[in-house]
Amino acid sequence: MASLNRLRGRWSLPALVVLVALVGAIVVFTRQGDDPVPVSTREAVIDVPESPDSDRTVQIDTTLYLPERTPAPAILLPHGFGGSKASVASQATELAQRGFVVLAYSARGFGRSTGQIALNSLDHEVRDAQKLLDWLATREEVLTDGGGDPKVGVTGGSYGGALALSLAGVDPRVDTIAPVITYNDLAQALLPNSARTDGVDGETPAAGAFADDGVFKRSWAGIFFSAGLSGADATNPGQEAAEPGQDDDSQGLDNAAAAVTAPQQQAGDPRPAGPVNGACGRFQADVCAAYTEVATTGKAGPQTLEVLRRASPSTVTNKITQPTLLVQGEQDTLFGLDQADANARQIAANGAKVKVVWYAGGHDGGSPGPELRGQIADWMEFHLQGRGADPGTGFEYTVVGAFRSSGAPSLRTVVAPSYPGLGGSGATQRRDVPLTGREQVVVNPAGGNPASVSSLPGLGSVVARSSSLSSRLAIDMPGQAAVFQSEPQTAQTLLTGSSTVRLRVAAVPGQPVPADGAVLFVKLYDADANGVRTLPGSAVAPVRVTDLPADGTPVEVTVTLPGAVRPIEADHRLQLVVSTTDMAYANAAEPAAYRVSLAAPELSVPVVPGVNATSEVPVGALWGIAIVLVVCVIAAVVAWFRRRLTADVDPELESVPLVIENLTKSYPGGLTAVKDLSFRVEHGQVLGLLGPNGAGKTTTLRMLMGLIRPTEGGIRVFGHRVSPGAPVLSRIGSFVEGSGFLPHLSGAENLRLYWAATGRPLEQAHVEEALEIAGLGNAVHRRVRTYSQGMRQRLAIAQAMLGLPDLLVLDEPTNGLDPPQIHQMREVLRRYAAAGRTVLVSSHLLAEVEQTCTHVVVMHKGTLVAAGPVDEIATGSGEATFRVDRPEEAATVLRGLAGVHDVHVDGEQVHASLNGTPRATALQALVAAGVAVDQAGPRRRLEDAFLELVGE
């Protein structure tokens, strides 16, 4: 056991190091298991007809991503406008890792595919995709629903999302779709008009007016078109939108990495072989002509509208019956929430399952983050394989908090059971917020310049990372804007979707009215108590009021404001601004002035109540908590039982205050402080433990108090073996190696609290008597901090005497006391023992022990040197010492005496064992023999022994 202890002491540090290393290794090992599953790819070029009845072909460049296990369901992954199959490579890999066969391809006119861009035309791109479905059905890696019908889902962002919708509308082989940030009607996306004279059905939260004769969204359309010309992926948000619960810092790193790698992808994708068609680039002629028309006139003629109609999913959404997950961005001035709203309405009308997700991104904010991509994969997994939980048909939207801590966007996702206004679910709740403001005149400057600013399309993705920056970018030009404002909110309102307001617009009599009608831009600001305004989503609702009577007769229109998600805090105001210009749009060039007022004072604010999305119950953590608690309980129970087993009594020794047997204490360094020490202290004794400093006295006393564990042997007090905290220690009063008091308390309080800590009844303590022994007078009420060494010593001895212990153990009690006090102390100890108690005193002073003790134990270097009554040890068994002038002669005389033996000479001294012969007789014999005796007395063996030891 002892050697085991030593071993433990020596090995505990290395053991700890090994343990930490093991834990680290396990962590690293288990994390290596997270390595992504390998994904293999096959490149293929697939020929498709150039147009429905053409015999010329277009080559579509594809990559097939194969998961670990095939056959598997397939996912068709078209890319965004201006991109190529390379721009979806990472998402394709991710989906393949989830176990899908993924077919990524460059659409015609993009990447290495040949052909011309027809804007997802039903006759061109959609047919290409159908051919790809045919091809997928022939692959043995792909699961099929029947001959020529692969099990396939389609997902894609923006341009790719529109393809997913159109393809699902024309081809029933598609099993499910998940279009992301895409459009319903390209004409409305590029030429929006958010005002109707006949009112808007506001059943769904983000319904747009979708009126004809829209205002040209000049900046975005230009970016869109130039992306087709140059192949630059300008419409791609480029980075991921933030997600709730995401670590902002790692997100930043990911984005930085993405920003670095993106251009390389482009570089590895050399310019295509398709024919270059002058200023039209790779656009088909009719598309190019349509763009040229709107870009130059700002208006769309019937042919252009037909091109845009053919390019819009809205023509086929009435045929989509597949489960559809619509993902739309809240930061999107290109394809706003109203586009997804229209898709949702039209698809749900067919009875199809529709789920809608609005996330904190979009063309201005970023592409879906990993969590949302995972959600899309979950959707595919459920609807293609029937695995996982049913994603249902609910509605989720992300709320970007009103403030950010440490620069990270604070987001939360709210889940509503359904998208309001779809199928059986009720209409959207709308809260009427009264606006006030008199009629105001707004002026359109000639040429539409300078223009108000709402967003910076294209740049949006850069700026929108800091939504506070982008949403405060908005500037209204003075004189061009009419302002209507609400009272401060009394409680928070969570705006969710498109607010509507009814406005009255009239020409100023005498001023010309433009032939194209009045162009106005309506925006809804969130203004805080200090007047700082925020434009949610940086979006603006363009309005064209045609046929405005020149005589000043007003026209009333219902305006649908851009869809947004924004918590309007208490104390904030809603501010409706109607301006005549906006940088992002084709403004009216003719100078004009209009009178604008509220037709109805209410702003109708949509609210969709829901619960915050919470991650699933943290089962692992709860189990962990339970396990930790159980382990603690087990540890406590085991410790309790082990303590029960330590009691050890020897009934025969119950009346013996102290028995020490073979006591040994060695320390790991090899030092042995006490070695094989054995002695007894009987009742009523005052035992002195004598030895020089370092003899092991204090160590022995510490073992007696249960403070340190003996290496071997044991101590019994009144028959009970001493162990740390053994109950029998309550019969011992001790003072070992200095006092121990709380310096901030007075002496009296120290004793009182010490006794209270023992938990014993106060009447047993005899505090008064003990304090009298200490004799500190009024000093007992001073803080111990102020005491001298001697005062502390006396207080400590008084503390040891509290409760009148049966065995009083004092270590060097007279150190630091002055002679009268030492004298008194001896008196105390003697009389205390006489009163039926036992006292054990250690000292390094012989005189001390001789004068105080009845018995003595002499120790040196941890071993017992001598033990017995003080007299006996001091006098020996009848030994005498004579100091004489002629020692040899004296020795001879003494040897001659009867019974005297063991005579030897030591310098001037002669020692002899008289063995019963009185010392006086021996003295007489010596004197008679003529030896001069200088001194005669008992031989002082204790002193000899002690001096011998100390003298070393």
Binding site: G245, V399, Q821
Partner: protein, 308 residues
């Protein structure tokens, strides 16, 4: 007072010996003096008195009362933020009384609160050792496991009191200065004053549980050393180190294993629909670390040679 005034009256010796002669109390079966019961030693009340009368404890508690006032003065002096609804915790602090409490907890959460817990737990055994009073308590005898338990309990009570005192004072100060308005959460949600106070109360409970790891570590260090400063400082250093490592994003998922990783998970409580997963993980992490160090401390203290 000079040494000369200190003396024992001869009558006192007679009193003592008379008392000793008169009293021969019975002995219980376990060898203890009648009246002694291990289960009654070191009542928590006594330990609390011993600790609460220390100037150090009083200063810490006094500082906690003072801190909200200092913050208010700071806000009153600096009018830097014209917008009280945007920006970080700090800018939001003056939105309402509850927001002020949240700020107070936020600014004190990373250093002050762990330090206070480390102080109460790290100092408790080590300071007794440094005063040499530990050996007398153990020889009283107070069983070692019981001494550790009682002291930990007293330290825990004081820590919880301190952790509750700070937000309580901050709430009073906040309500007086900034009113009992709606609390605005980091995600822009608004909660009524009552709900806000309830959330803050739960946050204090979570913080108390989460700091268990600091308590465990400080207790372990406290039984390992005779230097109170070493024990307290060691625990605080460990907390700081963990926070530094938590900033190193390259560690990615490994940071989840850091004891301070979930220190601010209580912020989830401020939303209307509470996400408990972060707090559950934080509780698990804190309990696991805390229990590990506490058991280690108990084991070490039970086997240790007391030499101070």
């Amino acid at each position: 007072m000079s040494e000369n005034g200190v003396h024992t009256d001869p009558a006192a010796i007679a009193d003592l010996t008379d008392a000793a002669r008169a009293e021969h109390s019975a002995v219980a079966a376990d060898g203890s003096k009648a009246g002694y019961r291990a289960g009654r030693t070191l009542p928590v009340r006594v330990e609390l008195v011993r600790q609460l009368r220390r100037r150090r404890t009083q200063l810490v508690l006094g500082f906690l009362v003072l801190l909200p006032f200092i913050l208010v003065v700071a806000f009153e002096l600096g009018q830097a933020s014209p917008n009280r609804r945007a920006g970080g915790f700090v800018d939001l602090a003056t939105a309402s009384g509850v927001n002020f409490v949240i700020l107070t907890l936020f600014v004190s959460g990373s250093f002050l609160l762990p330090m206070i817990v480390a102080l109460f737990f790290g100092d408790t055994i080590a300071s007794e050792a440094s005063w040499s009073s530990l050996k007398y308590l153990l020889a009283a005898p107070i069983p070692r496991h019981r001494l550790l338990r009682r002291k930990a309990l007293a330290s825990g009570l004081m820590s919880v009191f301190a952790l509750a005192l700070l937000p309580a004072v901050a709430l009073v100060v906040g309500v007086v200065w900034y009113g009992a308005g709606e609390a605005v959460s980091p995600t822009g949600e608004a909660a009524s004053f009552g709900a806000g106070v309830y959330g803050v109360a739960l946050a204090v409970v979570y913080i108390s549980i989460h700091l268990f790891w600091v308590a465990g570590l400080a207790l372990y260090l406290s039984v390992s050393t005779d230097a109170p400063l070493g024990a307290v400082g060691g625990a605080v250093l460990a907390s700081i180190l963990s926070q530094i490592l938590d900033q190193i994003t390259a560690l990615e998922g490994l940071r989840d294993y850091l004891p301070t990783h979930y220190a601010l998970a209580w912020a989830d409580l401020l939303s209307s629909d509470v996400d408990w997963s972060g707090m559950a993980k934080g509780t698990f992490s804190a309990l696991a670390y805390g229990a590990f160090f506490t058991l280690l401390a108990a084991r070490k203290f039970a086997r240790k040679d007391i030499t101070s």
